[in-house]
Every structure is written in C-alpha cells, then in structure tokens.
C-alpha cells in the first residue's frame, strides 16, 4: 500500500479506538458522506434518462401543433435547452438544492408539492404493512424455531415460502374477489368513503378521520386500509418469519442459551429474553432492507386498490408521459430510501455493540 495512505489509516484507527460517542459520530459522518456521491449519481442518471426518452421535450409541452421558430427559440431559452449540457446539469443540481424538483406537465404543479400531498398516503400504507409483517412475522419465526422439525414448523414455513413467492398484484385481486366481491365486506378502492369529507390535517387518514369527529369515518378508513395492508405486508411478513426462524435456530444453539437453561430459567424467559434479543439483530437488518422492497410493492398495491399515493402517481405519470414527475418522484423516493437505510445502519450499530467496536 502507498505509505501516504498508511499514515492516514493509522490516524483513523486511533480515532476509532477513541471514546464511544466519538466513533459513533465518526461512523455517522462517514456513512452520511458516502451517500452524497450516490445521490449525485442518481440525479445525473435521471438527468440523462429524461434526455433519452423519445420525443422532444418542447413537443411534449406544446403538443403536436406547429409553432413559429421564434417561439421555439424562446421556449428553448426558457427551459435552458440552448445551454451546453454540463451547464444544464449544474443548473439542474442548483434547482434540486433549492428544493425545485421540476413541474408536472399535466397539472403544472411543482413535483415536490404533489409528492408532499401524496406521500402520507403511501407512508400510512407502508407503515401499517410493516407493523402487520413484524407483529405476525417475528412470533411465527420464533414458534417455528422452538418447535423445529414439527408439523407446526413445516406448516408455518410452507405458508411463509408461499407468501414469499406470491405475485402480490394477483394476491390483491384474489382478496378483492373474495372479501369485496363475494362477501361484500371491504371496499374495493380508495382511502375512505366519499360520504366523509374533511380537510387533511396530518395527511394520515387514520388520524385525520379520528380528528374529524365524524361518525364512522375512522371505521371507513380502517376498512379501506385492511386489504392493501395485507397485500403489501405479505412478502415482508414471509421474509421476516423466515429470517427470524433461522436467526433463532442459530442463537438457540449458543452456549449462553444453554447456560440460561441450565440456570433453570423458564423456557419463556430463555427464548423471549436471552435468545430473541440476539436473534433480532439480523432481523432488524432485514426489516431495514425491506424498506426499498416496500416502496416497490407499494407501486403495485396502490395500482390495484386505486390508493392515491406515490405509486399510483408514478404509474399515471408514465401513462401520461409526464416525465418531470417520473424524474422528480424517483429521485425523491431514492433519497428517502437512502436516508432510511442510513438510519437502519445506525440502529444496527446501536443494537449490536460488536459492530460498533469493530469498525
């Protein structure tokens, strides 16, 4: 290795051996700085992508009708298309830095404000799906691991593998067929009955409907949320159950679990406290990794249930060839996924002292 770098490395290692908070802070800063080039690269790619899309951006804006060369030049100047490409990219970054993610061609509203109005719907759905997946997935995995090799274990894992293999858009249609069409129990689409109207306060329908004080509004919101939650939560649920089982199996064979058993602690305490706490470390990572998958799944789920969130918005933007929305939307979602992944990394460091000290 180049000696110059070696010196640097020794310095950094000293730093790592410093106090707790110090290394943690360093870890946070390093992890955050690493994200900047990633985000720039995504911005660059969306910038290039929008130029690769067939169709002239001016024609997209003005329609097919002919316009005079002067108007054309004016348009080009307005959009900055008469500038060299590198200048256009810098301008684009400058706009992003000022929170300008472009303007929708079809609604003429800023992409960022549309995103901000629709995002709570997606977040509410994703959050409920994650809670559904964690609340059912972790116990299922623990039960399967403690009853390893029994019929119960095989059934649980069989169901989990089926869920893991599920085409969720079809699963959604099946649930609609059964619960909405045949049993008439749940509504087919939307977030709440049209009967109820109130100004969004938080953007989260469950909270807003409670705040609105209208009879039945909350129940209506819940009944609209049930099927989408199940659909979006299915794959995370299966993944978490499988991961919890294998993590538990690994931990249950460890010496400290045998010690805890030998001390005469109740099986509940051994499994619940000693084993589960350590088994949860990889599970938390998996939950974190599901965030991106959840966003992808939300696109399909929202599309099936006409859920007015980011997913529906993006699919419609493609159908309408509203490329600024697609560009800005993808950038914003990637940004959110990146930030959540950092938070998960940090949480991982907090949960697992071994990682914190090793780095």
């Amino acid at each position: 290795m180049d000696p110059r770098f070696r010196g640097d490395d020794v310095g950094r290692r000293k730093n790592r051996l410093g106090r707790h908070g110090h290394t943690m802070l360093g870890f946070i800063i390093r992890r955050t700085l690493l994200v900047v080039p990633t985000f720039l690269a995504i911005a660059f790619l969306t910038f290039v992508a929008i130029r690769l899309v067939p169709g002239d951006p001016i024609e997209v804006r003005t329609g097919e009708r002919g316009i005079s060369p002067e108007r054309l030049a004016e348009f080009r100047h307005q959009l900055g298309l008469d500038q060299p490409v590198w200048k256009q990219f810098l301008d684009y970054l400058w706009q992003l830095a000022h929170g300008d993610f472009g303007t929708s061609i079809s609604t003429h509203a800023p992409v960022l404000s549309e995103f901000a109005t629709l995002f709570p719907a997606t977040l509410e759905l994703a959050f409920c799906a994650m809670v559904f997946a964690v609340v059912l997935g972790i116990p299922a995995g623990v039960i399967a691991a403690t009853r390893r090799g029994t019929f119960l274990d095989y059934s649980l894992m069989g169901v989990a593998l089926t869920g893991f293999s599920m085409p969720i858009f079809w699963w959604g249609l099946l649930l609609i067929l059964f619960f909405s069409v045949n049993l008439d129990l749940t509504p087919v689409s939307g977030r709440i009955d049209l009967l109820y109207y109130f100004e969004p306060v938080t953007g989260f329908m469950l909270i807003d409907s409670l705040l609105s004080d209208q009879d039945g509004a909350f129940l209506s919101a819940v009944s609209h949320l049930i099927l989408p939650t199940i659909v979006l939560g299915t794959i995370p649920l299966a993944t978490i159950a499988r991961m919890t089982r294998s993590a538990m199996l690994e931990v249950l064979g460890e010496d400290y679990v045998r010690t805890a058993r030998a001390k005469g602690l109740s099986p509940f305490r051994v499994v619940g406290i000693h084993a589960l706490r350590n088994a949860l470390i990889p599970v938390v990572t998996v939950i974190g990794l599901q965030v991106g998958a959840l966003m992808a799944g939300a696109v399909l789920t929202e599309y099936i249930f006409s859920w007015p969130g980011i997913g529906t918005w993006l699919i419609e933007s493609i159908q309408r060839r509203d490329y600024p929305v697609l560009q800005g939307g993808v950038l914003l979602i990637s940004g959110i996924v990146i930030v959540i992944n950092i938070l998960v990394d940090l949480l991982y460091g907090v949960l697992n002292p071994r990682i914190r000290h090793a780095r």
């Binding site: 990633t38 293999s165 079809w170 067929l177 991106g292």
Partner: protein, 301 residues
C-alpha cells in the same frame, strides 16, 4: 498405480465426493425434491409447448368467449381451463406463457450472472478506481427500489419483452457483483491463490480459473433466487402494461387485460396468477434446498 491394487484393496468407507454429498443432502430434503419435480415438469411443458397445447396461444374461437373451466357448470370439454374474453383457450395460453416466463427468468439470470462475475472479479482484483467506480455504480442501482428502477428503465427504452429482460438484468446485477467481489476478496489471500501466483499464473487465470470456482456456491443459490424474482417482476411489469404487450400470453400481461372480468369470469384472473405462484414457489423450494445443501453451517452432520 496398477489397476489390480485398487481392485484387491479392502473396501474402506470413503467419504462421498462433494457432488455426491450435495445430491445426498439435496434429495434428503423432500420439499426441495418436490419443487424440482414440479419445475422439471414446467420446463418440459415449456419446451414442448407446441405439441402439448391443444390450440395456438392466439387462436380465437369467437362463439366460445368466456367459457368456464370444464369442471364448472357451463364448461366445455374442448376447453379444459376455459376461455378468455375473446375466446382464446386458457390452457394453451398458460402453456405458452410458461415458455415466456421461464425464458425471462433464465435470460435474466445468465446475463446478470455473467456480467456480475466479470465486474465483481474486476472489483476484487483491481483495487483503486476501477473497484471504486464499479462498487459506487452498484450502490446507485441498489438505492432505487427494484421494481421502480425496472419501471423507469422500461419507460425510457419502451415496453416490450426484450426490454423487460434488460431492465430486470440491470436490477439484479448488483447482487452478483457484491457477492462475487466479497467472496473473491476473501479467497484472494488464501494459500492456494498465493501458490498459483508463485507458480506463475497470470491475473486473468487466477481470477477465472483459480478463484472463481471457489466462489460459485453462493452464486448458484443467488441464481435460483434471481430466476424466481425475475419471473415475478416480469409479470408485475406485464400487469402494469409495461412489460410484454398483448396479445402475448405472458402471465402478467394476461392478468392485466383480465382485471375487468374479476366478477363475471374469475377464472381468467385466477389461473394465470396460480401459474405464476406455482412456478415461483417450485423454484424457491429448489433454491432453499440448494442453499441448505451448499451451506456447510446448515448441514446436519
């Protein structure tokens, strides 16, 4: 060694070779074996679709639209699984669809695996900027949610079956690159690699002939997972109208046009989805079996 020595030598219990051990472990797993049987049947159906399918995938029988499956009241023996909204035989379309889905899965896995192995080995053996560029590029791909990335790529290059394969290949590339790089980095410092280098092996030889075979186990497991995910994502794209285009009998595309018949002719919706589920499930069963058989930690002995 003379031949008679081996013949007359007392039979000693020799440990089975790695391949024999693998097959023993794999076939002990009954679920994996079941998955393998179903998958083999599906592959046969896909290969011999021309001979098995009673009709062509786009053949229309105008007077037989929305005929329910044969075992339901109003069904017709001529159309075992019923017909769709324009009178095409569901069974024939599903059979030809198997060909498409398995083809997509296989193409994606071959393309992303080869590209991933090359990029991953380069990243492991060329520290400095090639490694940095490759790994940061993979970070970028990973930070966009998978289906969303595929949607964006398809939105740019246009919806079609080929473009679906291209888009999904890009999405799964980082998994291989990271996997190959990580295992190559840990293998690189082993004695046998050093020995090969001392013996005068060039870098290319060390990369592909010395190190690569020892990194294959996790790659194979990843391949099984990639095939099933690729089939799911291709179907999702088809369902959104961004993948294979009608009248292609791709299962996802079949579901897209069937949505409106959920109430009146539910079999048009249930059958293609069931086909996807069975295919993906059987591949995942095989994948789980592969993982358990290849992962020494999970091995029972």
């Amino acid at each position: 060694m003379p031949a008679d020595t081996t013949a007359s030598a007392p039979r000693v219990e020799t440990p089975p070779g790695p391949i024999a051990a693998f097959f023993r472990d794999f076939s002990e797993n009954r679920a994996a074996l079941l998955g393998l049987i179903i998958l083999s049947l599906l592959v046969l159906v896909a290969i011999f679709a021309n001979f098995i399918a009673p009709y062509g995938p786009s053949e229309q029988f105008r007077e037989f639209t929305r005929i329910p499956p044969a075992w339901v009241e109003g069904g017709n023996r001529a159309f075992l699984l019923g017909t769709d909204e324009i009178g095409r035989d569901m069974l024939s379309r599903l059979i030809f669809g198997a060909r498409l889905s398995l083809f997509i899965g296989l193409s994606v896995v071959v393309a992303s695996m080869i590209a991933g192995i090359v990029l991953g080995l380069v990243a492991a053996f060329a520290p400095g900027w090639p490694s940095i560029v490759i790994m940061r590029a993979m970070d970028v791909i990973l930070s966009v949610p998978s289906l969303l990335l595929a949607i964006v790529i398809v939105a740019i290059i246009g919806p079609s079956l080929t473009n679906t394969i291209v888009a999904i290949t890009v999405v799964y590339l980082p998994n291989y690159v990271r996997l190959v790089r990580a295992s190559a980095l840990s293998e690189k410092t082993r004695d046998y690699v050093v020995a090969a280098r001392v013996a005068g092996a060039g870098t290319l030889r060390i990369m592909f002939i010395t190190v690569l075979p020892n990194c294959m186990a996790p790659i194979i497991v990843q391949a099984a997972l990639t095939i099933s995910n690729a089939i799911l994502e291709a179907a999702a794209l088809g369902f959104l109208g961004l993948g294979a285009q009608p009248p292609s009998p791709e299962w996802g595309a079949m579901l897209a046009s069937a949505r409106e018949f959920l109430q009146s002719a539910s079999w048009i919706v249930t059958e293609p989805g069931l086909a996807i589920l069975i295919t993906v499930l059987s591949i995942n069963l095989v994948g789980d079996g592969l993982r358990d058989a290849l992962d020494p930690k999970m091995r029972r002995s």
